[in-house]
Symmetry: C2
DNA sequence: ACTGTAAGCATACGGCGTAAGCCCGTCAAA
DNA sequence: TTTGACGGGCTTACGCCGTATGCTTACAGT
């Protein structure tokens, strides 16, 4: 026992956890070094003892989210594992609305992120996909998941862009007709719709 | 003839054109009101006589890109039109690497953007899709296109993340094995691969 | 008790978006 | 021709931002 100091020591992990909390409530644009420091009871510059630059924190946040996605089971049918994992990923992406954008800006290079990707690719290869097709499959899945997460998040509780801030849609009848679907659809059902198309298409590819 | 003044008058369009050029060379993070003003031979604050805020410029840039995508032909098979248009959109997204991120942050509410979306939705509905399925189809297409554009752009000419700045991939054999595909693949072929799966899946849906 | 070291703090710099007010060229009305 | 309003561009200033630099402080090992 070294005796509890009055100050809980700062660590990279504590910083990233706080950054996630701060970004979850208020968006990434609210995440500044000063505010993050304040949240931790510390000056902004103290963070730099544990973190190289702000980008380092952002990368850590991405990895934090990937770590929270359950890895796919390796011992069941690949279709099942992929479905489950895609839905779990979507959940996380929606829970942390800053994730998709951040991921797009910074890429997927953290350890947990790579582990996740590696497992998915392994799943495809074990199922019999060629390396190239495994890559195709990963890419399709990633695009679909991120795309849907993005769409699910545009707009908040009720005031999303398609009901309040939209311009006059009188010139765009098809958009106008589909506004209810754009605004109030059951996202998980929607996501599953496309997911099944992708999985079926990939499975067909597997059968030569 | 009113006589040519020595100063070409500023307009919203001229500002947005310059913003696109500036962002194309150097990325969005290089796009500041001051630099944009300098590019136009004007002080930053002068831009505010023609533009409400910087976000206004960003929205204009999104619309600029959508305006550059040829609208789908309405008189040929929907599969053909969709294929062509998706490829044309991908081209534009890749030509303006800031587009996908910007679009994700700001949404698709500009006039040209809505017109584009309206045409696609109209195409699906004319082909016999229900409103709900037309929306599904749009969403899948958008996700796929943006996802591939994003992946095509991560990293520049030769030094992309998968060859230079990557961490040790020794712990991630599947990622390591697919690195060549991630780095040097033929993007248009890849994109078409997934596009065909999506179109086929949608066509199957159409046949009840 | 002394001292090396690392963690945290204070200050400062250059850049950002933009609010507020000035200045001056242009042009319509007198 | 004079004048006076107006609008576009300019200047200044404010409060943010990320972060380089150097100081202070408190604990660990002797």
């Amino acid at each position: 026992m070294t005796g509890t100091t009055t100050r809980t020591p700062l660590t990279r992990d504590r910083i990233i956890d706080a950054a996630v909390v701060l970004a979850d409530s208020g968006g990434v644009e609210e995440l500044s070094m000063r505010k993050l420091g304040a949240e931790l009871g510390v000056e902004a510059m103290s963070l730099y003892n544990h973190v190289e630059k702000k980008d380092d924190i952002l990368d850590g946040m991405i990895d934090y989210v990937f770590r929270a996605i359950p890895l796919p089971a390796a011992d069941s049918d690949w279709r099942l594992s992929i479905r489950e994992t895609a839905l779990a990923a979507l959940d996380q992406f929606v829970e942390h609305p800053w994730m998709v954008n951040l991921l797009m800006q910074r890429g997927i290079y953290g350890p947990s992120s790579l582990r996740f990707m590696d497992r998915i690719l392994g799943l495809f290869r074990a199922a019999g996909f060629s390396e190239e097709d495994a890559h195709h499959a990963w890419q399709m899945l990633a695009s679909h998941t991120m795309g849907y997460a993005f769409q699910q998040m545009s707009g908040g509780e009720d005031k999303d862009g398609w009901e309040s801030n939209s311009p006059d849609l009188s010139a765009f009848p098809n958009v106008a007709a589909l506004t209810p679907y754009l605004a109030n659809c059951e996202f998980e059902t929607e996501f599953a719709f496309g997911l099944e198309i992708i999985i079926a298409g990939l499975a067909a590819r597997l059968r030569d």
